[in-house]
């Protein structure tokens, strides 16, 4: 059964019409695909079972003269009706059991699974690697996992409900504020695959993307090292540029003077900013630092108070780097 999908792909010419599912990259995915194809074929048969008689009857018994009467007034047939009342039970029971068997393992991580803690927030994913002590975050962040290694995701959200969706793994799980949800998988094919947010979460819902990068063991190890060391060696301005992207600052703050969801960084340094609750301040190093850590204290006039706190997510050096970055955009 497992290879039904591959079998089908041999029989059916590989065209865009028939590759209705994105490439599966795990055992779970190919199992789900088998069931999906089983559904497609059986539902097609059921559909034809309705539509072919419908068409034949419609043509054969069409009204040819305006006052034509029906040939028969037959109004019931016990066996026929019993047949289509009880036969579906068998089919539906098969589907239920089959679907449930595949459903449960998603939530039962095998022992020794690597734990990744995922936090969703508007509009980016942040992933903490518990063993490696690294964090990746930001719009379009790359989340690397070793190939063939069972992974357990423990997920939560810090604002609204998001949904962690990896089409190639056929997996999706809502990420809910106030509780943890879990999901486990094992990716068996190297490559880069999209991660999407599937639960509507606001303006930039469709930009809440990330990449799943499945790497061989040694590639993964070097990726981890790279992630660990990268920030330490970089010059401040370069690090600031990188962080502004990684932390998602640029999703709301533009660098070219256009107003997005927040004031543009261009030329903001050293300016006086009016706040929506009244009051104003000069944008200086101190202010930027405070605003990154406690953004809700002040909000620029005319903008929504949507900036999340980066407390604990950015190091002191990171803050200095961001200040350097914003300074570099001053006029």
């Amino acid at each position: 059964m497992k290879n039904l999908n591959e079998l089908l792909q041999m029989v059916i010419p590989k065209g865009w019409l028939f590759s209705t599912l994105p490439m599966g990259i795990s055992d779970h995915a190919s199992e789900v695909d088998t069931l999906y194809w089983f559904l497609i074929i059986t539902c097609l048969i059921l559909f034809l079972l309705v539509v072919i008689p419908l068409i034949i009857i419609s043509i054969k018994y069409r009204r040819k003269t305006p006052l034509q009467r029906a040939i028969s007034q037959i109004d019931h047939n016990f066996w026929m009706e019993s047949l289509w009342t009880f036969l579906p039970f068998i089919y539906l029971t098969i589907l239920f059991v089959w679907g449930f068997q595949q459903f449960l393992p998603i939530y039962i991580a095998p022992t020794g699974a690597k734990e990744l803690r995922v936090v969703g927030q508007k509009w980016q994913w942040s992933v903490d690697y518990v063993d490696e002590e690294i964090n990746v975050a930001g719009v379009g962040a790359t989340i690397a996992v070793p190939v063939g290694q069972p992974i357990k995701l423990v997920m939560s959200s810090q604002d609204v409900i998001h949904s962690f969706y990896i089409p190639n793994l056929r997996l999706k799980q809502d990420v809910v504020p106030g509780k943890y949800t879990t999901m486990s998988f094992r990716a068996d094919r190297e490559g880069e695959y999209p991660i999407l947010c599937a639960e509507y979460c606001g303006d930039l819902h469709s930009q809440m993307l990330a990449k799943l990068k499945v790497l061989p063991a040694e590639g993964y190890a070097s990726w981890v090292n790279e992630m660990k060391s990268a920030d330490q060696e970089m010059p401040l301005l370069e690090l600031g540029t990188k962080l502004s992207e990684k932390l998602g600052c640029l999703a709301c703050h533009s660098t070219d003077g256009t107003a997005k969801l927040a004031p543009s960084f261009k030329g903001i340094y050293g300016k006086k900013e009016e706040f929506s609750g009244g009051g104003s301040a000069i944008i200086n190093d101190d202010y930027i630092r405070q605003h990154i850590l406690e953004p809700q204290k002040t909000t620029a006039k005319g903008y929504p108070p949507i900036m999340p706190s980066f407390q604990g997510r950015v190091t002191e050096r990171g803050i200095s780097a961001l200040i350097a970055f914003i300074k570099s955009l001053a006029e």
Partner: protein, 149 residues
């Protein structure tokens, strides 16, 4: 069937005043009983005992005062249908909460919070994950903390 019967329907069952008073005193006694019993702890059974007494009282009111015992039985069907759907609603929701930890104990945290997770200093920074985003919410968390008093 007489003409009068067709037009005015069956004669209404006029109950005696005494019956209504008896039902009323039964209701008052059950009220006193449930208050009395609430002083004793039956453990998990307390809820059940209380609900059985409340259910009996409701049955008395609906049966005698609302005439369900004497009237068209379809009214009783309407009332019980709504109760059945309501109990499906309540039981499914509670079952969901109860069974979240069956597969993965992480999922049980909604219940655990009661005892463990919420033993925090009510400082938003110490939440199990990062603090809430919007400004009013954060103010709230501080508002309701014991540190304020």
């Amino acid at each position: 069937m007489s003409f009068r019967h067709m037009v005015l329907g069956p004669k209404p069952h006029i109950q005696s005043v005494a019956l209504y008073w008896i039902v009323f005193f039964a209701l008052v006694s059950l009220t006193l009983l449930t208050v009395y019993l609430s002083h004793y702890d039956f453990g998990a059974w307390s809820v059940l005992v209380t609900l059985i007494i409340a259910g009996t009282k409701a049955l008395l009111v609906m049966g005698f005062f609302m005439h369900l015992f004497f009237d068209n039985k379809f009214y009783a069907l309407v009332a019980s249908t709504s109760l059945i759907f309501l109990s499906i609603f309540i039981l499914s929701s509670v079952l969901d909460f109860d069974s979240r930890s069956y597969v993965d104990e992480q999922d049980a945290n909604f219940r655990l919070r009661d005892e463990k997770v919420y033993q925090r200093s009510l400082n938003p920074e110490n939440l199990p994950f990062r603090p809430g985003l919007s400004e009013p919410d954060k103010a709230l968390l501080i508002d309701i903390g014991p540190g304020e008093h």
